[in-house]
């Protein structure tokens, strides 16, 4: 199925499992994750820390340390089986078909080179042009990501730039090879509110113009609302709910998604308690047998902890891994307005 060229999926994950093995314990970071991304689509993976969202992305690019990681399942990107790629093919994938931007651009940029040279080098590596051309293209790219006075910034070192500009430079670098797929790992989390919205709007615009597919990892439902076409909610290494962003945020079918929405703080909840999800996420070394969310779920039934609830498909790519998905319980209390 992976080699099926008729499928128009840009990314296809099937039963992806990622385990980190060490002498003391085995951490099941990602468990049976399956998802698809169509070309030109923006998918947001929403989850809290330890939900496996970043690990899935890194597995997609084979960025995890090979020795301590056990990856099983199928990953295909643009028709290529990522888990079988070797050497040159792999580096073609990493900087050609797929690019990645990170939360902290300072770690992705080399502090001792000017940003112009770094972008030019990335361009030259993929297009085999000379430095002159590379710099020209670097300037174009900086203008594309709306860096003010781009000419001057070409000669700047990363530490001379503000956080927002650094993030733009990193985006420019990621776009230098015209990727088909952009992976974004919380790229706006470390930014200030006024800068975050600028970067989000920029990414949305660039994605549309270049027709890239994008997987955007975030913990912030607000960010997903701004940028996503479709949303996948992860909890304890599993996808618990998928759907379009309108469906998931407007009509959540998994109690975890509902809990996340209810516990997102809003000013108009002042003076009231927030409906927080009690407890803590499970220990990934000792996942419970049934639904991982069962210990924190207020709609829990006896059968929840017996076996892993199946994926319930509700048509149109809508899925929820909950026994009550098709018939959501009546909300006892007024929920925080999700919208």
């Amino acid at each position: 199925m992976i080699e099926n060229s008729t499928s128009n999926a840009l990314v296809e994950l099937k039963d992806l499992n990622v385990k980190f093995v060490s002498r003391e314990a085995t951490v099941s970071a990602v468990n049976n994750v399956s998802l698809t991304l169509k070309a030109g689509e923006v998918l947001c993976i929403i989850g809290e820390s330890g939900s496996g969202k970043s690990v899935s992305m890194r597995a997609l690019m084979r960025l995890l340390p090979e020795r301590r990681t056990k990856i099983t399942g199928e990953i295909s990107v643009a028709g290529k089986n990522v888990l079988e790629l070797q050497g040159k093919e792999l580096s073609d994938l990493r900087g050609g078909t797929v690019s990645m931007i990170f939360q902290e651009p300072m770690t992705a940029l080399d502090p001792v080179y000017r940003v112009g040279d770094q972008i030019a080098e990335a361009v030259c590596r993929h297009e085999g042009c000379d430095r002159e051309m590379g710099l020209e293209r670097a300037l174009e790219l900086l203008e594309l990501v709306k860096v003010p006075s781009a000419e001057r910034r070409l000669k700047a070192y990363p530490h001379e730039l503000s956080g927002g500009l650094r993030q733009r430079v990193m985006i420019a670098m990621a776009l230098s090879c015209r990727p088909k797929l952009l992976l974004a790992d919380e790229p706006t989390t470390a930014l200030d509110a006024t800068v975050q919205i600028q970067v989000l709007i920029l990414l949305r615009k660039l994605q549309r113009e270049m027709g890239m597919g994008m997987i955007f990892v975030t913990h912030d439902l607000g960010v997903a609302a701004e940028i996503a076409d479709r949303v996948a909610v992860m909890y304890a290494g599993r996808i618990v709910e998928t759907g379009t962003v309108q469906e998931v945020l407007g009509d959540p079918r998994h109690p975890y998604t509902r809990g996340m929405l209810a516990s997102t703080v809003h000013g108009n909840m002042r003076g009231k308690d927030i409906e927080a999800i009690p407890g803590n996420p499970p220990d990934l070394r000792r996942l419970p047998t049934g639904c991982s969310f069962a210990p924190r779920c207020k709609d829990v039934t006896a059968s929840c902890s017996e076996a892993l609830p199946p994926e319930v498909f509700m048509g149109g790519g809508r899925m929820s891994r909950c026994l009550l998905a098709s018939a959501p319980p009546d909300e006892p209390k007024s929920m925080a307005p999700a919208i």
Binding site: E48, A193, L249, T264
Partner: protein
């Protein structure tokens, strides 16, 4: 939230959040818990071979405000606006270059006032990074008990107080007390940090981005806990955060900072419903909508905050402000009230009559226009 439990005399009209009389009060209900006057801190930047001073980071510049008894004062601003420096100045963890603090009527650090050591017992702080703010080599109950021991309690007393507080913050002392920080989750560590701050029975707790690093579901738990503790221990909070929604949720009054200066301060509803300063408006307009069908199409502000090393002359916001005029470059606006209100103050030439700003001559911008976050376009120069 305390209106129905308030058994004291009705307070003065401006002090809506006064708690029942606390016997630890020295100055009475109307006396602000904390007054900061003209706080200033410039950090020297050294460079070169001889480590000479090549510039100053103007982290906090002439900041004055007061914190009322029993209220929560939210402090918002972007990174580099000096809000964390402000927290450390309030705690005297760094010495201010200028300015002073008055704690419940007593000047802090002066001869006949309150000593810094005593002030630190009355005012405590919770840090953002729940990991590095706990000693990794100490069981958490000892970390909590430590402050008590410093102030002369016996081991047994300190331990008992620590266990009681752990219970209060929702951690079973038998289960969690003997654990080490690495055996706790982020939210649990932050609960320990809160217990540690409360062990000295402070009046004021400064929460420096205390929930910012937590996951949303845990953040909600901790916010609920903070609300409960405030009531239970009759606390006053200074809540520093970059998250506008959280600040709106928890604060009674809000202080907005930009590049080391106060740009606007006032009751939370006024700030959020009718912000005055262009920066506050932009900040509020940058909040994510949570509605996929109503996305923000145009960024309210362009560019990043400037470097606090060499802030712009005059009004520091003028470089990003669409209303900036000549006067903004020349003169730095004072924090003033508009018309009859003294609660809601802002530092903008547009709100000072005859300031020289073209919009200042006009009558006050109509609330409807401001509430919509849209500038009266006709006045743009």
């Amino acid at each position: 939230m305390n209106a129905d439990t308030n058994i004291s005399e009705p307070a003065a009209p401006t002090l809506t959040s006064v708690q029942p009389v606390d016997r630890r009060d020295r100055g009475g209900n109307a006396q602000p818990m904390l007054i900061a006057r003209g706080l200033k801190k410039h950090f020297p930047i050294t460079g070169g071979v001889l480590n000479q001073v090549v510039g100053h980071v103007r982290a906090v510049d002439d900041v004055s405000f007061s914190v009322l008894k029993g209220e929560t004062l939210g402090v918002v601003g972007e990174s580099g606006c000096g809000k964390s420096t402000l927290a450390r100045l309030l705690m005297h963890l760094i010495e201010p270059d200028e300015g002073n603090l008055v704690f419940d009527g007593d000047a802090v650090g002066e001869v006949d006032g309150l000593s810094v050591r005593d002030m630190r017992r009355l005012m405590q702080m919770v840090f953002q990074d729940s990991y590095s703010s706990l000693n990794p080599r100490m069981p958490v109950q000892d970390s909590v008990a430590y402050g008590k021991r410093v102030h002369g309690a016996t081991n047994a007393e300190a331990r008992a107080a620590a266990r009681e507080l752990l219970e209060k913050v929702g951690l079973d002392p038998n289960l969690f007390g003997p654990r080490y920080p690495h055996e706790l989750s982020g939210g649990q560590k932050q609960r320990v940090n809160i217990a540690r701050a409360l062990v000295l029975e402070p009046r004021v707790v400064i929460l420096d981005e205390a929930v910012s690093a937590l996951d949303k579901s845990v953040e909600a738990q901790v916010l609920n806990l903070l609300r409960y503790l405030k009531q239970h221990f009759n606390l006053t909070y200074v809540f520093i955060s970059h998250d506008l929604n959280v600040v709106q949720y928890i604060s009674d009054r809000v202080l907005v900072m930009y590049l080391g200066e106060i740009v606007e301060i006032g009751p939370v509803d006024e700030i959020y419903d009718s912000p005055r300063h262009p920066y506050t408006r932009a900040l509020l307009a940058s909040r994510l909508s949570m509605d996929p069908d109503d996305r923000i199409e145009e960024p309210p502000l362009v560019g990043d905050p400037p470097n606090p090393v060499n802030p712009p002359s005059g009004c520091r916001f003028r470089t990003r402000c669409q209303f900036a005029e000549k006067i903004c470059e020349v003169e730095s606006p004072a924090v003033t009230g508009w018309r009859e209100t003294s609660e809601h103050m802002t530092a903008c030439h547009m709100y000072v009559e005859k300031s020289g700003h073209s919009m200042a001559k006009a009558p006050a911008p109509s609330p409807a226009i401001i509430a919509a976050g849209k500038p009266p376009v006709s006045h743009v120069v």
